[in-house]
Amino acid sequence: MSIWRCSAMRGFLWLEWRWIWPWLCFLAAAAFLLPFIGYVWPLIFGTGRVFPPPRPDPELGQAVGSILGIASLVFYFLLRNWRRGKLPEVLFLSPYHDLAGLVAQFIAPAAVWTSYIVTLAVWNALLARLWLSIPYNLFLSLQSGLYFGSFSFIPLSGWLVLFERFVWRFRLHRRSVPAMVAFLAGSASMSWLLVGGISRIAGELLPEWMIWQTRWPEGVQVSGVPQEPLWAMLFLTVVFLGWAWAIGREVEL
Amino acid sequence: MDPSSGPIYLQLAREITRWIARGDLNPGDKLPPVRELARRFRVNPNTVVQVYRELERREVACTQRGRGTFVREDVDVDALRRALLKNAASSFWEEIRALGLSLEDAVAALEEVSCDRQLDRGG
């Protein structure tokens, strides 16, 4: 049975890729170009000093990149839902649609987004010459990328899957104003919740096992260890996906 | 096949009988498989099954399990030919009566038609 699942997953993942490849290209371009903003901006619009020369600001590049990443949510949603026609009806009759289709629909944006963030981090570090050694930088970028990704984009991808099934279930027409409003309001509140809200309550309300301590490589001294609710986020993602699956059983196409 | 003039299976049975009468199918020949005949005439395969059953009932064909349906060896092709002719004749006769004409008119009409046909072939 699991062999078949893999085959079906490949099929559904391929379909997701075909639907969203312009979005992927857009993010790839953004990941490549945006760090230049952080790098170039201070040099062009700098502090007015000539000496010492202004330092590049990798955080700016990362921040703009992140905002754009969230804004590209809209792009993703439009691409995926605008012109699918009746294919979902036919696919609905695949015995793997309920599970493999749903998981593929989650994995595609989550993987793309996480890669985007990691690429952004690596590229930023390279440009800002924050390069100590390959293992160190890679480790840091991967960790921060995956960490940040699971903190925001992974639950966000889960939420998107839930949203689509919600729209089907309650028959909000895709291109209607209510659907768009629900989508934008939902995305915004989700983003706030993930990036802002939960961090704030993390230390106080969440149990120990839901917090993840950032691990630094040997020999690096860091004062104060960030505590972020990584596992809580992943748990939330699973909740979203489970809920989406449950609603999916009641949708009508 | 004309759906308005009666059950299709009877029309199809008549057509196959005509093939045998004309010599397109000989006694002992294998009739096309159900699906092929269904495709050729664009009819339901169950209808073709009914056709073959009807031909069996008329003792024109027989089905051998696993091998298909065959025209019977002992089928009287002449009798079939005459039966078909009689069918055509009775339709013709009905037309004659409907027009209020007589047997002589019918014979004259036939002669005329056969002359025309001979002319066509010669000319």
Binding site: R18, R84, G85, K86, V90, S94, P95 | P3, S4, P7
Partner: protein, 233 residues
């Protein structure tokens, strides 16, 4: 028995698309679902496929709810469903993964029968696209095939090939339900015809029985639905 509908009612908001439909579908049958536009044919097929859930009544496929029998039902929508960039090879690869009972050899045989060129959908004519879509659905080995207007708006050659390929795909163990309003062309194909008017089954009869009484299916259709295309009385 392959599928059944008992007292099925389906509403879209205030409109009742199906008003208490009773229907039984058996093995080896090709059933023609006939009726004017808006009579509920598409809704009925979607309820059978499990895409829609009835508001009242019961629908079973192979003894269970259609959603639990997803591998056994194949559905061809009325509107085009393949995306512009799909080629026959792409369709085969994709469907092979997603539908476990999809048979590649049968697909290519149907593609040959239906004369589908090997180009992406955006380069195909309407008839070629419809034929490719039919091939992809008929290549799925299912117990119940639901075809919604497979002949609609197509040229005569396409219609002819489509009817012949349905015959080629027919098996004694499966049931076909074909919704169409091109009655004259397809009627010889049907074992049974179900006339649907305004969400109700107006007539459910064996086609050859109708013909024994001297009426073709098309004559009966015109009798039932009249010149205005609406049920008479």
């Amino acid at each position: 028995m392959i599928a059944s509908l008992t007292g099925v009612v389906k509403r879209y908001g205030a409109v009742e698309a199906l008003r208490g439909v009773d229907l039984e579908l058996r093995k080896g049958e090709i059933v023609g679902l006939l009726g004017p536009n808006g009579s509920g044919k598409t809704t009925l097929l979607k309820v059978l496929a499990g895409l829609l859930l009835p508001d009242h009544g019961r629908v079973t496929v192979l003894g269970d709810s259609p959603r639990r029998r997803k591998g056994s039902i194949a559905y061809l929508p009325e509107l085009p469903f393949l995306t512009a960039w799909m080629t026959p090879i792409g369709v085969e690869k994709f469907f092979r993964h997603v539908f476990p009972s999809f048979q590649a050899e049968r697909f290519w045989e149907l593609v040959r029968l239906l004369d589908v060129p090997p180009y992406p959908v955006r380069r195909l004519s309407k008839g070629e696209r419809a034929r490719l879509e039919l091939a992809s659905i008929l290549a799925i080995t299912a117990d119940l095939y639901l075809l919604d207007e497979p002949l609609g708006g197509l040229d005569p050659v396409s219609r002819d090939r489509i009817l012949r390929s349905v015959i080629a795909a027919w098996r004694q163990e499966v049931c076909f339900v074909i919704a169409t309003h091109l009655v004259a062309e397809a009627e010889c194909l049907f074992d049974r015809v179900v006339l649907l008017g305004d969400g109700r089954v107006v007539l459910d009869a064996v086609a050859e029985e109708l013909r024994k009484r001297g009426k073709g299916v098309r004559d009966v259709y015109l009798e039932v639905f009249g010149d205005a295309g609406l049920p008479v009385a």
